[in-house]
Amino acid sequence: MEELDVEPAITNIPAASDGKHLGFAWGPGDILAYETLYMAPGAKGSGCSFIHEVRKDEDIYSPILRKLFNESHHIFVGLQTIREDLPSKNKKTQFVSISKNYRSVIRACMEELQQVAASVLVLQVSILLAIELIWNLCEVLFIDAAPAGPLLLHLLDWVRLHKGDVDEKAREVLQSESPAEHHDYWDVVVSYVLQGRFEEARQMLVKQATLQPAARNMYKLMDTLLSKMPFYNPGGTQTLTEFDVKWRHWHEEVDRCLQDNSFASNQHLEIICKILVGDEDTLLEHKELLSTWYHFLVTRLLFCHPTVKPTELHYYAQSCMTMFLDLRSVPEPLDSILLAAFEFDIHQVIKDCSIALNNWWFVAHLTDLLDHCKLLQSHNLHFGSNLREFLLLEYASGLFTHHSLWQLAVDYFDNCPEFGHVYLELQIERVPLDTERKALKVLRICEQRQMSEQVRSICKIMAMRALRNNRLGSALSWSIRAKDAAFATLISERFLQDYCARGTFSDLDLIDNLGPAMLLSDRLTFLVKYREFHKLYEENRFSEAAKLLLSLITAKIAPRSFWMTLLTDALPLLEQKECNVVVYLLLELGDMEKI
């Protein structure tokens, strides 16, 4: 057995008394625990007769997160239908757009949770934030897989998207009476520079420049430096090498300004100049503005190595993390997940996420998308077939425990080629069937997947229930659906017994209008024909009635127990001058008795 990655979490059951032993039983998504009679020596207290349900995944019961599950199900189903034969370039664009769809669904949920503003949900919001951060990074590194050059631009976008407070602060500053004198003004400018948003930085600086006409030259110099910083243009004709040359040229110019002490008189501009040249110490001095090590990483890359290659990322990531987090000894789960992503270790990312989150939603969908991008090596696991299928099966099984979301799980099982069908067969029988409408939906699911065993068993359950409530017509319609001849025979027996007991048929509307369904079972056919015999008799069509009676016996579909009744029915026909037919009847019966 493999080693455990982390220590298992301990959950206390508050109502259980001390010293009692707990028994437990596994359920599909939870554990039922109960107190046993065994008392450890020295334990006191009376027994508690409760059964405790311990549930791991609370998320599926949250009404706002339900939207996440439904919308992502829709995206998932769409993803599975992308055709294999498209050229890879088109596929990549589609995969990126699907990834963006997933992320926008996460964002929409997050916004809604934030609006509700309950304290309980703060944790959920932060989890969703982290999930979106990780997903975005995976999209940049794995799905979009940008090469050196565009890679940095994508990483810049990533950081900008996840650091929203800069815009808030900037808005506050700009709305004040004198923005350039606001205490947060320089923070905002520096933040813009750290994020590579030079346009906004320059606009802010203009305000300061107007306040200090004496230092106008300095501001103009800074403005020039900021405007001349080259950014790689992926759609342009410039090659990476040419860009590199241009950038080094610019870098030297900034360095020269620093050496010349051009900004010595203004400490703020000096700081900005040092940032532009990529001075690590200055960057580290602004930890609160950067707030995360990955922001520090991207900023450092922006000003030191804008042509960073994907394969080089993990060196810088590791060193940045160490530099930034020197006070803390243990990195948080999020940090190690991001680091694993920078190291392009997809499996480690997925593994760490699986452990850190209590719901398989994220890893299942992300892995599925990465699998479609052909990024996962297919190594088989000891359990389940491959990683993607394993995660999807776990996620869908979790969904199946939900009273309502089980319908989504069906599509996930459909897309697990090896074990999905078996899992579905086992799970679908556990869905409680309170109304006929629900039973019909479950049946449709089973029939579409050729799960005939389950169809038969569900129809039998519904038919038995109907029979118990004396709804013979319903019971018959269920047996017709399942093509269950045995049950149809049972129902017909009930009808015939009713007739023998009361002398009349019940539910004539059913028997008279069965149509071709009567051929499902011999007994049923007999019942319908027997009723027809009575109708003919009532209409005084005696010759036809007698012929029918004869055919019923000769065709041997009349049950033996009914022969006396048939004979009794035949007696009145003797008076109707149809003797020859009736004699035939009696002879036939006599023949059969001998056999």
């Binding site: 439904n70 309502s404 017509g473 018959l476 209008n513 369904a517």
Partner: protein, 372 residues
């Protein structure tokens, strides 16, 4: 056709209905009610799409439906109808029938009247599957095969037709003010005359082939003898209840159960159906006809002679189009109304130019510019 957006509502929608607009005003409907199913706590909710004779809004404005108010509902909401502007009747899987009142001023809902356990077996509750109302009369049907007639504002039931059907009755609709139509799970359409005291139907119609369950029924708004039904195999059947006992025309519509069929109330050459297979179809009879209607055969002639006051040309050919249902002649057009495959579309309602539908994917779709 403008795009239709989904609004995810965290509950599987079993029924959705527009609040009726008064006939005098030409306004588009703006409020609809939904009922949920398969939840531990089911709800009925009222939503608004903000169509209040909006003059200030742009042509293509797509507001999401906004939740106005909601109320707990005991059991799945199996059917829902507006009784009048403020009250709705719902039927539950617990066999209860409830009238809820929507207080527009305070945006709250209260239970106005309740008949618990009216549909039941001897030792269990039976789900009440369908309701139709024409204020103040309410008629419900259930899995126990009973038809029950109530009156709003009166305690107790007015009349029970016990054992009206030996199988489950799935839906009910009015044929005339005193006649109702029911469909059941052995593929029969039964006509009941409520003026008669007898407990048997005045007419039984059924399909000639396999007796597959019928799930929904709707009557043509103007021609009271034309009825459309949909069933388990997704076939759309159009019947003429005056003539014969089998359907007039059968059209392949869906690949799974058809849950609801609706004629457009003011423009009946349009028909809408929704199904378990996740599609919502809009059926439209085209108005061109190469042959003038009086040359098209015996049946039409009799119609012309009977409806001498009807406008020439148009109406007669359209009447016969539903009954001939010959889609190969290009007189019947169907369009999918939802952008892509979804889980089962359980319910739809159409009024004016607005269409609303609810799905098992916990989404509501509203289309405000249905081409009718």
């Amino acid at each position: 056709m403008e795009s239709v957006n989904a609004k995810y509502v965290s509950q599987k929608i079993s029924k959705t209905r527009w609040r009726p607009v008064s006939h005098s005003s030409l306004q588009q409907p703006d409020i609809f009610a939904t009922g949920s199913w398969d939840n531990e706590d089911n709800k009925i909710s009222f939503w608004s799409i903000g169509n209040h004779g909006s003059s200030g809004m742009d042509e293509g404005f797509e507001g999401d439906p906004q939740l106005l108010c909601e109320h707990k509902h005991d059991g799945d909401v199996l059917d829902l109808q507006f009784l009048d502007q403020d009250r709705i009747v719902t039927t539950s899987s617990t066999g209860a029938v409830t009238i809820f009142r929507h207080h527009q001023n305070s945006q709250t809902i209260s239970v106005s009247q309740r008949w618990p356990r009216v549909h039941r077996y001897p030792c269990d509750n039976a789900p009440c599957t369908g309701v139709v109302c024409s204020s103040p009369e309410i008629v419900t049907v259930g899995e126990d095969g009973k038809i029950i007639v109530f009156r709003a504002d009166q305690e107790g039931v007015i009349r029970v037709i016990e054992n009206a059907d030996s199988s489950t009755i799935h839906a009910v609709t009015y044929l005339r003010t005193t006649e109702i139509l029911t469909v059941n799970s052995i593929g029969q359409l039964k006509l009941w005359d409520l003026r008669q005291q007898s407990n048997s139907p005045s007419q039984i119609l059924s399909l000639s082939g396999d007796r597959l369950p019928l799930h929904c029924v709707d009557r043509h708004p103007n021609q009271q003898h034309i009825v459309a039904t949909g069933g388990q195999d997704g076939m759309l059947c159009v019947w003429d209840v005056r003539q014969g006992s089998t359907p007039f025309s059968l059209m392949e519509a869906h690949s799974a159960e058809m849950w609801e069929v609706h004629f457009h109330p003011t423009n009946p050459d349009h028909l809408f159906t929704c199904s378990e297979d996740g599609s919502l179809l809009h059926w439209e009879t085209s108005t061109h006809s190469d042959m003038p209607s009086f040359l098209q055969g015996g049946r039409n002639n009799s119609m012309i002679s009977r409806s001498a006051m009807a406008p020439a040309g148009g109406n007669q050919s359209l009447i016969s189009t539903w009954l001939s249902g010959d889609s190969s002649k290009g007189r019947l057009e169907t369009t999918h109304m939802l952008p892509s495959q979804t889980l089962s579309v359980n319910s739809l309602d159409v009024l004016g130019q607005c269409l609303v539908c609810g799905t098992d994917g916990e989404a509501i779709f509203v289309n405000r510019q249905v081409p009718v």
